[in-house]
Point group: C2
Chain length 287, copies 2
Amino acid sequence: MKVVTAIAELKSIIKNSKNEGETIGLVPTMGYLHEGHLTLASTAKRENDLVVMSIFVNPTQFGPNEDFESYPRDLDRDCKLANSVGVDVIFAPSVEEMYPTDGGISIRAGRQSEILCGASRPGHFDGVLQVVSKLFNIVEPTTAYFGQKDAQQVAIIQTLVRDFNFPLEIRTVPIVREEDGLAKSSRNVYLSKQHRQEAPAIYEALQIAKEHFLATREVKEAVALATNHIEKKTSGRIDYLQFLSYPDLSDIKEDTEQFLLATAVYIGTTRLIDNIIFALKGETKNV
Amino acid sequence: MKVVTAIAELKSIIKNSKNEGETIGLVPTMGYLHEGHLTLASTAKRENDLVVMSIFVNPTQFGPNEDFESYPRDLDRDCKLANSVGVDVIFAPSVEEMYPTDGGISIRAGRQSEILCGASRPGHFDGVLQVVSKLFNIVEPTTAYFGQKDAQQVAIIQTLVRDFNFPLEIRTVPIVREEDGLAKSSRNVYLSKQHRQEAPAIYEALQIAKEHFLATREVKEAVALATNHIEKKTSGRIDYLQFLSYPDLSDIKEDTEQFLLATAVYIGTTRLIDNIIFALKGETKNV
């Protein structure tokens, strides 16, 4: 496995790979890898000749009061883990390598970014689209792999690829969970022992809401049950807990066929997100 | 020469060409071709195995009171002209083919777009960057060819390619002029006979300003002389006439080495643009 920090060196590797007619899988990450990332990488490895994993804590997707500086980083450990699942190239550029110039051009993520996580993180998805566009253009992947955990991110990136004709496929890989159901996250290391014990209630709440909705089609009741569960089982504060159509992220309607049930909860000062995407045949009511 | 209207068909041609290891030159145009466009195409032909010319009057770069509907179109004539200079593929999509969906993601051209033509055409360069990004992603060219006549456009597109790492080169091709010096433009057909006779004074004025500046380094005097020439020789109204550094399009300074002297003039209701890009060794003063 190669570890590359310079764009020019990476592009030379990519060029050779393309000249050989190889397929390239890109796994964009911010590092501090957990099993979720490794599942993305091993999926990419099964489906491609060359797997490039980027490890870059992208400053432009963090707000001024967010955890950019303190975001956990451990490149040595990440390299060992990535190597163990067959990653061929780690691309770990510095901020200066990724953003040496700023000519003032920006991407705005638009209406899909104004809800869910975007409501409390203005500019976050603009930064995501900026770095993802750059990575797509640098790596020129056949397929790029993203985790369903960041469902809103995946939906917005799918819109980017569709509306701007990026010549690649997006693959969404299911959420990887701890044994007790908590979605794996680099931010889980922030949790105290007590908070860690409370955290599985988030996924439990989503399951309760989904089941109630499937049985009754009652959105408000389903949301109330889930909210109640989180409030009873945790010391946390709910940022949002919401049903939307997926992947367009608009309000659900009579004819919605695929649903995103997503939540963000502050447990202590740590903001955890989780979601379920599910399909439905038949009628919905009282939405 | 093939004429293609569907993105999928074009991508299949591109894929075959790439599989053969061919280089691809892209010449983006809005059609109604003149010698300027044909010079772009013949330059592309000299330097590439496959030349794709897009002909697309892009609605997103026209303001609500601009000439999108009336912009001159003649695809049959364009195809004959393109064929005569060796274009291999004309890509002439419908608006629906280029913009079937709108997920709300936008590109903003930023500070380089707020001056010169951008000052009177808000959103124009945002639309240019949108369509150019899409064309880059659809055609995946080795090199894309743009005319120096739209110097601000070229500068902004160079910023896009640099800051977003598009895997291609931009080639800027010099302005092609009529015998009397008027820059070739699809919009020249709008000019009445009298206005056509006045129009060469625009380029004359730029030359006067450049020569005065080179001789004296006096920017204000140079602009005044050029303004006076246009006002005396035409019935037109100057939108702007300005020295800037190139390609960053910032105000010129002591250490500026390359200059853009650009103007836009309304002759009757037709807005004509022209420019000179020139280098300078030595000191500038009174800027």
